[in-house]
């Protein structure tokens, strides 16, 4: 092929004129042959690509095109052979420094122009612009991903508040199809109750402020869903274009929240006391029921530990201790406990405590529900007292059955037998007088038993009703001992009294006297034959009142043999001593009438010790 020759030079302009114009053009002017080989390259190539024209002449332009762009360029060149002019799509071209440059190129078929005889190309470097477009596409991809792939509903609104664009979740959320939603105002989805809230929020958005609201919407099926929507204004070049938003379905959360609200309403309105404590057991919140039951205001109890606030002197220390250790065990528990109102009034609570843990198993709260069981407890106490009384009465009945069947019946049987015998005996015999004497003896015995029974019965009755007076223990003791002074002297007994003169109590004087009298009398009666009697009477304070102790060094008893019968009526344990078997029975009855308790310790030939506990009620 012939090298291109600029044959004709116009009259008005020199050859150099054209060369300078082409060479200084911003565009790169070149001429290719049909194969694409450069036949002419303008001087501007140096500014655009870094080559000098001579380097490129004779080189095939296609060899410098980026392989990925080559097909498009080849196609355009082939097209040029059939057309006059075409625009070649952007392609990358290797510059002198080895970098790729984006070129925008137009080609003009001038093969038939006798002056040119080639394809005239005019190219310009558009690398910067192409890069920008590329970057835009790149960002667009990210934006689209954010928009369409977002797990929540994403949408855009135009300035009229109509849906323009949205991801597929809006359809799932609302149940409407894409075509139903497009161009529809957002207000058509809102539940009527939330129209105002929506309008107010949008007002803010239009004034340039992003906003998040919770609203209810109506789906196509008519069900209500709760959504949290964040809406933000969109500006482009300082111009408000519309808004875009993200909506999240919070129906489930909302129902949990409503459930909680309901529960807290229940907690605050229930008649039971509800207490929420922190892990240290200190009160964080109490309901109205608690305030009503205990008489405390909420602000008075917050920060306190319930048991310290409510338990008092009457609370069983064992229960207190058990409650504390159950709190520490961090397991649910329930207890019945005596508490006190602010006024000091007693109130029985059934408490039910549940520890609350978070997902990691850390203790968050204790929740206690307190039920007032005072009435039930009082009824229980009455019942226990009644059962106790019944038990005592039953014992009494058994005792009286015994008295009647043995002690009363025995002299009657004798009298009957003797009377029958008298009928058979001749009056003149000596035996007759003996029988009459025995008959009288039997009737006297009968009289004694009847009197005993009368005494016991009246004692029991009066024990319940007799009024208490202030009794000095030492004084009573001395009066009793005085009665026996003569006998003490005769038997050479040593008597010691250790009672603080200040000890006094509300009691029934006659009973205390009788109790001491019987015990001292027994000590004398059953003293040892081999040694003089040592008798000690003392009183001590104990936590419930006083303990009165009477101990001797007498003949004693074998406790194994006597313990079950010692205090029973008409039981005797000393074969050689006179006794009716009523003394200790009376002592016990009198001690019981004083709400006290009697204990005995004894050993044969060593002595006997009686302890009488006089309860706190009488102090």
């Amino acid at each position: 092929m012939q090298p291109p020759v600029l044959k004709e030079i116009g009259q008005s302009h020199s050859r150099e004129f054209y060369r300078a114009v082409v060479g200084n053009s911003i565009d790169l002017i070149a001429v290719l042959d049909e194969e694409g080989t450069y036949t002419f390259v303008g001087d501007s190539v140096t500014a655009v690509l870094g080559y000098v024209p001579e380097e490129l002449v004779g080189v095939n332009a296609l060899s410098l095109v980026h392989p990925a762009d080559l097909p498009g360029v080849q196609l355009a060149l082939a097209g040029l052979l059939a057309m006059r002019q075409t625009t070649i799509p952007h392609f990358r071209f290797k510059a002198k420094d080895g970098e790729w440059r984006w070129l925008e190129c137009t080609g003009r078929n001038m093969l038939h122009n006798e002056h040119v005889r080639g394809i005239l190309t005019s190219a310009r470097d558009v690398t910067a612009a192409t890069q920008l477009a590329y970057d835009n596409d790149y960002h667009q991809a990210y934006y689209e991903s954010l928009f369409f792939e977002h797990p929540d509903t994403v949408f855009t609104l135009n300035q009229k508040g109509e849906f323009q664009q949205f991801n597929k979740h809006l359809q799932t959320l609302t149940g409407y199809s894409e075509s139903q939603l497009l161009g529809t105002p957002y207000t058509s989805l809102l539940h009527p109750d939330y129209l105002d809230v929506g309008a107010e929020a949008m007002q803010k958005v239009w004034s340039g402020e992003a906003h998040t609201i919770e609203v209810a919407i109506l789906t196509q099926e008519g069900t209500v869903k709760y959504v949290s929507v964040s809406v933000m204004p969109v500006y482009f070049r300082d111009e408000l274009q519309g808004a875009q938003g993200i909506a999240k379905d919070i129906t489930e959360q909302k129902s949990i929240q409503r459930e909680n609200e309901k529960l807290s309403l229940v907690a605050s309105k229930t008649v039971n006391g509800v207490v929420i404590m922190n892990p240290a057991g200190k009160i964080e919140w109490v309901n109205d029921g608690f305030c009503r039951l205990t008489g405390y205001d909420r602000h008075e109890v917050v920060g306190h530990i319930p048991s310290e606030l409510l338990q008092g002197s009457g609370t069983d220390p064992k229960t207190s201790k058990r409650i504390r250790s159950k709190y520490e065990s961090r397991k649910p528990f329930s207890e019945e406990v005596l508490n006190y109102r602010k006024t000091g009034e007693k109130i029985w609570f059934y408490i039910d405590v549940t520890p609350i843990f978070d997902q990691e198993g850390n203790l968050q709260n204790y929740i206690a529900i307190e039920t007032d069981i005072t009435e039930k407890k009082e009824a229980e106490e009455k019942l226990v007292k009644m059962a106790d009384d019944l038990y005592k009465h039953n014992l009494d009945l058994q005792q009286f059955t015994y008295i009647i069947s043995h002690n009363l019946r025995a002299p009657v049987a004798n009298a009957l037998g003797l009377a029958q015998l008298i009928n058979k005996l001749p009056k003149e015999t000596a035996n007759y007088d003996a029988v009459v004497q025995k008959l009288q003896g039997s009737i006297e015995q009968l009289d004694i038993v009847v009197k005993d029974i009368n005494q016991i019965l009246s004692l029991r009755e009066s024990g319940r009703v007799a009024s208490r007076e202030k009794v000095h223990l030492k004084q009573v003791c001395q009066e009793v001992l005085q009665q026996f002074n003569h006998e003490f002297e005769l038997s050479g007994a040593q008597v010691s009294v250790a009672i603080d003169p200040s000890f006094s109590l509300l009691s029934i004087r006659a009973y205390l006297y009788s109790i001491l009298y019987n015990l001292v009398s027994n000590s004398l009666k059953y003293r040892s034959d081999t040694r003089p009697l040592k008798l000690e009477v003392r009183a001590e304070r104990d936590k419930r009142g006083f303990v009165l102790t009477v101990s001797d060094n007498g003949s004693g008893m074998d406790m194994h043999l006597v313990q079950h019968q010692l205090f029973q009526l008409y039981k005797r344990f000393h074969p050689n001593t006179y006794g009716k078997g009523t003394g200790l029975f009376l002592v016990k009855t009198q001690v019981q009438a004083l709400s006290g308790k009697i204990e005995v310790e004894s050993a044969p030939d060593q002595g006997t010790t009686f302890k009488i506990y006089l309860g706190a009620k009488n102090v």
């Binding site: 059955t401 015994y402 009647i404 069947s405 043995h406 019946r409 025995a410 009657v412 049987a413 004798n414 009957l416 037998g417 003797l418 029958q420 015998l421 058979k424 035996n431 003996a434 029988v435 025995k438 003896g441 039997s442 039981k571 005797r572 344990f573 074969p575 078997g581």
Partner: protein, 132 residues
């Protein structure tokens, strides 16, 4: 007529009365009263074991309500010698008690031949004599 009868009772009048009735009915040749149950028991045990020359009584009238050793204790102490006593010695409870529980308890005790209530009646004595 029986040879030998024991009366065990802490009540002196009761023994006197029983003896008087038995005498009047010519119940036995020898009537022995014991105010102290322990002595009576020792006496019986010696005879039962053969360590004493004395023969066993053919009939014993035993009171129940006695101090230190009740009629029931007495029977319990005898129970190991039930075989030795069987057929040779009959024990009758003679008590002033009108307690139905004691009558029931007596019925359940094999050593007891009968439960009699004080005062002893002629009729019973006649019956006992007949079974001599």
């Amino acid at each position: 007529m029986y040879n030998k009868v024991f009366i065990v009772d802490d009540d002196e009048v009761s023994i006197f009365l029983t003896e008087a009735i038995l005498e009047a009915e010519s119940f036995a040749t020898e009537c022995k009263g014991f105010l102290d149950a322990k002595t009576a028991l020792q006496n019986l045990l010696d005879s039962a074991k053969g360590s004493s020359e004395d023969a066993l009584p053919e009939v014993i009238f035993l009171d129940l309500n006695m101090p230190f050793l009740s009629g029931w204790d007495f029977l319990e102490a005898l129970s190991p010698y039930e075989q030795a006593l069987k057929g040779r010695c009959r024990i009758y409870l003679l008590t002033s008690s009108v307690d139905e529980q004691e009558r029931t308890r007596a019925a359940g005790t094999s050593l007891v031949a009968g439960f009699l209530q004080k005062p002893l009646e002629d009729e019973w004595i006649m019956q006992l004599k007949e079974s001599c």
